[in-house]
Symmetry: C2
Subunit: 246 residues, 2 copies
């Protein structure tokens, strides 16, 4: 075991921050961890927009459905799928870009956005900061597009708030390891038992940390996934120029 | 600066591996870095399939279009978008899952897959291993589905080969930082100049490392993005039960 592995094994989200800025040199080093990460075909189809302005963080907290930790933490970074930048390159080379009009293109940009987000979180946590990833910006992606001035062929996929920790979060148990790590072939047969075990373990976790109203995994997942809980993602992405028909 | 930041700032892909296995305890610690990572709504809509069998790695090398480093490296991990697992939970809670039939759901799973992939790469590299992420499995996603026995509502998004380094890769320069990190609002005006600078820098990089046939960024990106270069992604995902109409 080394400190980097240990850090990743103890991941948790932090939702309570001190009123203390992140020094510019440290913030730059954290952002560089995402900048220097790999991207598919070296396309670099991801961009970050860093918001430090307090009023604008307050606005993002509202867009995300009322998440006060976004206003509290000194830095909010939006990870943007960016085929605007690549189109400039493709056209400079004398061609027309097609990739943004496909599920393949969206998959590439979203996976690369996830790598960037993961690097931002690991980088910030390695320096003693807390982080919380925020998918809630997709509750109203058009408002994010306007706030950040995002051009055609870009989409604000996910964000992360970061800052110095006031109250640390608890490490949540995960689904049993054997339901996540499969060897050679996917083992579907054992999943129902793993899920039943985890529902019990998560309910026990909520009791232990004093949140007896916490839902088990199945009930929590059902609450979100019985509908498309952020229904503006697809129409807004289409208005930005993304396509999903091929 | 700390060792974790330093590691991420020096990311590069490795395409030449020693014939040396990864010890089971170390491989477990690397996989745990992905297992313990965060997921949207704690849905855990990602699974890994770890392939160590040499013949099966050879097969994946072929599926990916002939990438010998996949056969050479002792471990290949496929990162799978997994709404099969969540559907079991949603149905256990007495509801019907809808999320897999949306761009929103695909975005969530792909971003979470990217976080898992990023954690795997950082974890492996922290232990002195080399890695190379492989999007080429989407060249023939149906073959991967059959090889890994993936059930309905799962999709093999991306993979990573890892092992002990024979020949290290070179660190590739990135697009100028100001085209990746935007402050408060996206700055589109400066992009053409950044791209022109980078095209020159990347051409110089290829010359320096003895690959004078290397394309600049615009030409390389155009080569891929003037078409949907893995056209089977969308139809295969649809056959697996994913939808993109809403």
């Amino acid at each position: 075991m080394n400190p980097t592995l240990d850090l990743m094994h103890r991941h948790r989200s932090v939702r309570s921050y001190l009123d203390q800025p992140i020094a510019p040199a440290l913030l730059d080093a954290i952002l560089d961890a995402a900048w220097k990460g790999p991207t598919s075909i070296n396309g670099q189809q991801v961009s970050l927009v860093v918001v430090e302005d307090a009023e604008r963080r307050q606005k993002i907290a509202q867009i995300a459905g009322g998440q006060p930790w976004i206003a509290e933490a000194p830095v909010f970074v939006t990870v943007v799928a960016d085929f605007h930048k690549t189109r400039l390159g493709v056209e400079k080379a004398g061609h027309q870009q097609v990739i943004h009009d496909s599920v393949e293109g969206f998959a590439v940009a979203a996976v690369d956005a996830g790598i960037a987000l993961g690097n931002l979180m690991t980088a910030a946590r390695s320096a003693g900061l807390g982080v919380v990833p925020i998918g809630g910006i997709r509750r109203d992606p058009q408002a994010m597009i306007e706030l950040l001035g995002l051009p055609e062929l870009t989409f604000p996929l996910v964000g992360v708030a970061m800052g110095y920790i006031r109250d640390d979060g608890a490490i949540k148990p995960r689904l049993p390891r054997a339901s996540f790590v499969h060897r050679e072939r996917y083992d579907a047969a054992a999943l129902p038992e793993h899920i039943a075990d985890y529902d019990r373990a998560l309910a026990e976790h909520w009791r232990r940390i004093g949140r007896p109203d916490g839902l088990d995994w199945s009930a929590n997942t059902a609450q979100y996934y019985q509908r498309v809980y952020f229904p503006d993602t697809a129409p807004t992405a289409r208005r930005q120029g993304f396509g999903f028909d091929k």
